[in-house]
């Protein structure tokens, strides 16, 4: 995030997959997932160690500082 740029990009900062990411105050997890372009993609979301089912993403309002992991399947043995 660029310092001083918070007002135009978001009021909160969350960490998504290890990277700081701006989010608007009052935004939900679903808003964040959509803003990242992951809506409709095969993903699972974890917030501060807890898995949040897709159906519950809209109900979870971001408060800032959350550590969020968004994962998918890749090739593996």
């Amino acid at each position: 995030m660029c310092p001083g740029n918070e007002a135009s990009t978001g009021d909160l900062t969350v960490t998504v997959n290890g990277v700081a990411h701006p989010a608007a105050a009052g935004a939900s997890l679903r808003d964040l997932v959509e803003a990242l372009g992951f809506a409709g993609r095969p993903i699972a979301v974890e917030v501060d160690g807890d898995v949040i089912p897709r159906a519950a993403l809209a109900d979870r309002t971001l408060t800032g500082g959350e550590r969020i992991e968004i994962v998918t399947f890749v090739g593996g043995g």
């Binding site: 993609r41 160690g49 089912p53 994962v71 593996g76």
Partner: protein, 284 residues
Amino acid sequence: MHSVDTTAATHVLDDAPLVVGGITLSSRLVVGTGKYASYADMARSLDVSGTDCVTVAVRRERLVNAAGENILDHLDASRYALLPNTAGCYSADDAVRVARLGRELLRDMGSATSEWVKLEVLGDTKTLLPDPVGTLEATERLVADGFTVLVYTSDDPVIAKRLKTLGAASVMPAGSPIGSGQGVLNPNNLRICLEYLKDGDPAYPVIVDAGVGTASDVAFAMELGADGVLLNTAIAHAKDPVRMAAAMRAACQAGRLAFLAGRIPRRLYATASSPDEGRIVRPT
């Protein structure tokens, strides 16, 4: 020539299917989806291998180039049972965490194997050998959380027995280290694992996981009495993965048939296949 009795030919190939965690698999090969040169190679190799159960890994979705291809675009989830692994986890905590994310991905897809996990708790990065203490702990926690746990372990029969006692749906002893291509290094340990795990419970599925280098390794594991073999690198990194997938399929079937048929005992000295009686000559 005799006419071929097709009824008999069919019967000799009869075999009870492999059942893991209440789900019937038509193939005894479980094939990994990692390390292929392309998704097209992967898809063709899986097809030719005849497998109906494939492993996948759980990793961070890319924040950049998010429009890139996803492996699920190349895996027919109605054809293949997906088995998410906890590869890369070095503690029970991490493995449980990754298992829950894999479960969420599968639940979201409506997968029949949404509660399945291939549990790996690794001990160190050089050998990728399992950490037996962490593996036992994670198995206990995942079983309590409702998972169907297929657990990667060493070929140690005592740990194998304890994993089964903790409720693992399948114990999967390694033939040799992951990706090493060394085959089955200690067949005697595998024999003891099989004896212990199947004692009074002959249908308990034991799958040899890791170490396969070539087709004879698969055949050998199956001849020992394993219910299946899980492999990835031996196909994905073969010069011709699709042809190797065909070899693995044939080897798995050959090994299974040989196990069911029952091999002859090894003997130090020869026994003639032609009768001694009626010879027109005598040994000198």
